[in-house]
């Protein structure tokens, strides 16, 4: 890979962003759809932000469907990347990956797939600090163009980005600050424990960056373990973390985060994650592609994938 050119972030103009938001049907309407129809709305070249973190509340079914539909040239962002990153890279879906960390998990070691793609220059890889990505989503969620922070300065990280970062002295205190550009995804993929048909989403356990990602994105595809009645939402509105007006599609997908965990519903399926790691440990990228053929492309549908890895879907 040759030395890259850095350029200013392609932050959309504020009025264009507002126009995009205004064009969405944000009313209280039934948004339920199928997994394949929801993912079909993602266009090649979109920036897709993934909710959850590492192997917690990963919208795994949604990612699995993206790979099946062979989406191309995506920018993918997720603060900490696990198994799903391997599949998106090996599925040739991604032109640019933005993350702070990439491995199925510490105990499984380095990702052979990620190493193959980055070391051979097959993907534009941007490493940000964990907080930086969070602040970039938050700036977008707040409708401001950047967030000042006190991190990433003094490191080599800004030099290795394709995004050119700016610094400034605080006009009030004189403190040196790094200006993180707002990150506006085209699509956010979020998986939750429960939501109603309008898209009011409630989740338990670690909240991760999901609420910021949802408010930052142009469109939100929500998968949920269970669709509940709007009356139940209105009985506990303080538990709603993403409001209906930010959501565009609602898909009921039991075990939609498997083999990762969904707090209160199921723990991580560590053995199944070991199984995948065995494929890449033996054969690297080719092993990942073998696994993907058997587990992503061959199964008839998501439930067939669950059956294949030995997880019984409810109902």
């Amino acid at each position: 890979m040759t030395a890259h050119q850095q350029s200013a972030p392609d932050t959309p103009a504020y009025l264009a962003l507002r126009k995009r938001l205004a064009s969405r049907n944000r009313g209280l309407r039934d948004k339920t759809t199928s997994l394949s129809e929801a993912i079909a709305t993602i266009r090649d070249g979109d920036h897709v932000a993934i909710g959850g973190n590492t192997f917690s509340r990963t919208p795994f079914a949604a990612v699995w469907e993206i790979v099946r539909q062979k989406k191309k040239h995506l920018t993918v962002s997720r603060s900490i990347t696990s198994t799903e990153g391997d599949f998106l890279l090996a599925g040739d879906c991604v032109d640019k990956y933005m993350t702070s960390w990439f491995s199925q998990g510490i105990v499984w070691g380095l990702s052979r797939v990620m190493r193959d793609y980055v070391e051979n220059g097959k993907v534009t890889y941007e490493e940000w600090s964990h907080m930086s990505l969070g602040m970039m989503y938050r700036a977008a969620a707040m409708g401001i163009p950047f967030m000042p922070t006190r991190v990433m300065m003094g490191s080599t990280m800004p030099d290795a980005l394709v995004t050119k970062l700016e610094t400034m002295s605080c006009p009030y205190t004189g403190d040196p600050l790094l200006l993180l550009p707002a990150l506006y995804p085209n699509v956010a993929l979020i998986h939750v424990q429960r939501a109603d048909k309008f898209g009011n989403a409630q989740y338990d356990g670690l909240p991760f960056m999901d609420a910021d990602i949802a408010m930052a994105a142009d469109r939100v595809i929500l998968t949920t373990e269970k669709i509940i009645d709007n009356d139940e939402i209105r009985q506990a509105p303080d538990h709603t973390k993403i409001p209906f007006m930010a959501v565009d599609a609602v898909v009921e997908v039991p075990y939609g985060a498997a083999p990762h965990e969904c707090a209160g519903c199921y723990d991580p399926f560590y053995k199944r994650m070991d199984d995948y790691a065995d494929f890449t440990r033996r054969n690297g990228l080719a092993g990942a592609l073998d696994y993907m053929r058997e587990h992503i492309f061959e199964p008839r549908d998501w439930n067939a994938f669950l059956a294949k890895i030995g997880v019984e879907a409810r109902g």
Binding site: S100, L110, W128, M131, S155, T156, P176, L206, P207
Partner: protein
């Protein structure tokens, strides 16, 4: 290993965990990863620091991890065991920026004479020989907190200049850290399986402050790619006690991290 083993029978990660636990005084707020620092913190909580508070970048405030249930990641529900509060990673990392954290712990693949840590790329980042997992919250911790680096004492890891600064220590030494914009925090200690370093108050180079029991200074120097400062007042650390080792082994009975 039996309970009645002599105290010089311990593994590298057991020694590191014990040394780590000893800096964790009661009442401190620490920011930890899941390996040695978590073992050290969990040991300290059970031994003499019951009100030690652990923060994890996954968004967890004040968990109390149960023996045998060590998490394999800082970002999953096992790390939330008996926690006081769950936040987003953005908000828990912002507590570092606000100044709530007394000590942050990080690791990495390489460390240099000024305590800069690399966990991103081996070789030139434009054409790396190895792409590593990356910063995670490492850069945030190193930028914003007094930091302790845990590092296996190996020549390939202790290099004069790291290939890539993921988590800045004292950058190019002297006042350079502050000049880069990092006006708080810095490397407090580097703990290895052979010794403990701190940083010289002016030059900010690594300086040997304590040798682990039975370790000669030559072993420290032979396993480094540069020569650290060697002051006259180097102390020898107390060896891990039977009590420390016994509790530690109970915390990780399947030896997930106690390699």
């Amino acid at each position: 290993m039996g309970k009645h083993q002599a105290t010089d029978a311990y593994t590298t990660s057991e020694l590191l965990s014990v040394m780590c636990s000893r800096v964790m005084r009661d009442g401190l707020i620490i920011f930890a990863g899941v390996g040695v620092p978590l073992l050290g913190a969990t040991l300290a909580q059970r031994l003499n620091a019951p009100s030690l508070t652990i923060l994890f970048e996954g968004g967890i405030i004040g968990p109390f991890i149960q023996p045998g249930r060590l998490p394999p990641s800082t970002n999953e529900m096992r790390t939330a065991e008996k926690a006081n509060m769950l936040l987003s990673p953005t908000d828990v990392l912002a507590l570092l920026q606000r100044g709530y954290v007394d000590i942050g712990f990080i690791g990495g693949a390489q460390i240099d004479q000024y305590g800069n840590v690399n966990s991103s790329y081996l070789g030139d980042h434009r054409q790396p020989s190895t792409r590593l997992p990356g910063s995670g919250g490492g850069n945030d911790i190193a930028s914003l907190a007094e930091t302790i680096v845990i590092m296996p004492h190996e020549k390939k890891r202790f290099v004069e200049t790291v290939d890539f600064i993921t988590s800045p220590g004292y950058v190019a030494g002297g006042q350079s850290r502050a000049k880069c914009g990092l006006i708080a925090g810095g490397v407090l200690k580097v703990i290895t399986n052979l010794c403990v370093f701190d940083c010289h108050p002016q030059t900010r180079r690594l300086s040997v402050s304590a040798l682990h029991p039975g370790v000669k200074i030559d072993a420290v120097l032979d396993n480094m790619g540069f020569r650290p400062d060697i002051p006259d007042n180097i102390v020898v650390s107390e060896p891990p006690s039977l009590e420390e080792l016994s509790i530690l082994r109970g915390i990780d009975p399947t030896r997930m991290y106690l390699k």
